[in-house]
């Protein structure tokens, strides 16, 4: 029952992401636009390129959606509203989200098209940049919570939210989450301008619809993960827990979508340099700082 409810909420969340993204791009708030776009995509022909690696080509959209849904399964909205509260929850989010890379590489390799291929390889470079900045801040969060249970992570923030306790970790995780969801300014893997859509280039019709749905689910899942790791999850005064979760997740999503619109796009080579020369030293410093803080103020 909870599972069905949460999957419905995930679908609603993905829909709202589509509306918000449309709003940040076009400046118009159209609640019906994603429905129309979805119907249009279902009605279009889904062409398969002439010599594809058929298995990779077909599996990639499935895998993107599955990885987003599996990650969402361990994210709690209230203490009880969670699909499965795994003992390894915080680690499981990482494990599930790594398959985003696999899906995008398969989508790049599969269709045997030059643009898709370049897009896929770009994302591999992007993974090497952002991956450490996802796992290292989460380690610092787990150190404070003393547990990998995602619900326990939220409970550990009862006094002070992690965004205040470890602001450095929050900034790194937020940027890495945007890179993981290939949102602008890290969207060179699906860039419209010079790759004709990158890994999306060879997909059309229903396959593209599934691919885009997976991306939307990924964005809302990452926003929810940011909320439970850093913004105190369901905690807050006056309003009930579910309301706080909703407000925070939608706020984080909006910031994620808006932030990239006002920045130049970052090539994967530059992102690698920034992440390894600045990001990872900062992430290690964050672990050290939190380590001292946890011992001094238990």
């Amino acid at each position: 029952m909870t599972t069905v409810l949460l999957l419905l909420l995930l679908a609603v969340g993905a829909y709202l992401v589509a509306v918000l993204e449309d709003w940040t791009v076009s400046g118009r708030f159209r609640l019906t636009a994603p429905v129309l776009a979805g119907i249009a995509l279902l009605g279009r022909e889904s062409i398969v390129p002439r010599k594809p690696d058929r298995i990779f080509f077909e599996v990639a959209p499935f895998l993107l959606l599955i990885s987003a849904i599996l990650a969402a399964a361990v994210v709690p909205l209230t203490p009880d509203l969670i699909i499965t509260d795994m003992a390894t929850g915080a680690l499981f989010i990482n494990a599930a989200l790594v398959y985003v890379l696999v899906a995008l590489l398969m989508a790049g390799w599969g269709p045997d098209g030059a643009y898709a291929m370049i897009g896929g390889w770009r994302f591999l470079g992007q993974l090497i940049a952002y991956a450490m900045l996802i796992v290292m801040p989460i380690t610092a969060v787990v150190m404070r919570a003393e547990s990998l249970l995602t619900t326990q992570v939220v409970v550990s923030q009862a006094g002070v939210w992690n965004i205040i306790y470890q602001p450095l970790g929050f900034i790194l995780f937020f940027i890495a989450a945007m890179a993981l969801a290939f949102l602008p300014p890290f969207d060179l893997t699906t860039s419209k301008g010079e790759l004709a859509g990158g890994v999306e280039a060879e997909y059309a019709g229903v396959r593209l619809a599934v691919f885009r749905l997976g991306r939307l689910a990924l964005i809302i899942t990452l926003a929810a993960a940011t909320v439970i790791f850093y913004l105190g999850g369901w905690q807050g005064p006056l309003l009930p827990p579910w309301a706080w979760s909703t407000i925070k997740i939608l706020a984080v999503t909006t910031i994620m979508l808006l932030a990239g619109r006002y920045m130049p796009r970052i090539r994967e080579a530059d992102l690698l340099a920034w992440c390894w020369m600045l990001g990872i030293p900062l992430a290690l410093l964050n672990i050290l700082l939190v380590g001292v803080l946890v011992l001094v103020f238990p």
Binding site: M143, L272, L295
Partner: protein, 120 residues
């Protein structure tokens, strides 16, 4: 829920997602069929087949980072269990992992000094 039930539920989610996507495919098939027409299946390369094969060896110009990434990724496997018991063990845990991370960080600095952190 027991561990096994939790993994069963996750497996169920995977199967359910596959079923959902397949039902979307069926829906699209009911709406209309893809017509086979010449030239339609050319990959998006300005309407012509690309001159060179696409599946070639690709120069991963970030291989220096990739090697460092392997080292750091292995290290993270040790970090998670350490992070869970960190508060119980206390200062000893901080020092233990501090030495480990310091060595790893020195490795990063060494790689940096040798020019691993650039597009080759």
């Amino acid at each position: 829920m027991s561990m096994l039930e939790q993994y069963g539920l996750l497996l169920g989610l995977i199967v359910g997602t596959v079923g959902f996507v397949l039902s979307l495919f069926v829906l699209a098939r009911i709406v209309g069929k893809t017509r086979q027409e010449p030239g339609k299946d050319v990959p998006a390369t300005a309407g012509q087949l690309s001159r060179d094969p696409v599946w070639v060896r690709y120069h991963a110009r970030y291989y220096g980072y990739a090697l460092l990434f392997l080292a750091f990724d292995m290290e993270m496997a040790y970090m998670y269990p350490w992070a869970v018991v960190y508060k119980q063990v206390g200062l000893v845990a901080l020092l233990d992992m501090g030495v480990f991370l310091a060595i790893l960080f020195l490795g990063l600095l060494y790689g940096w000094s040798q020019g691993a952190l650039r597009r080759q």
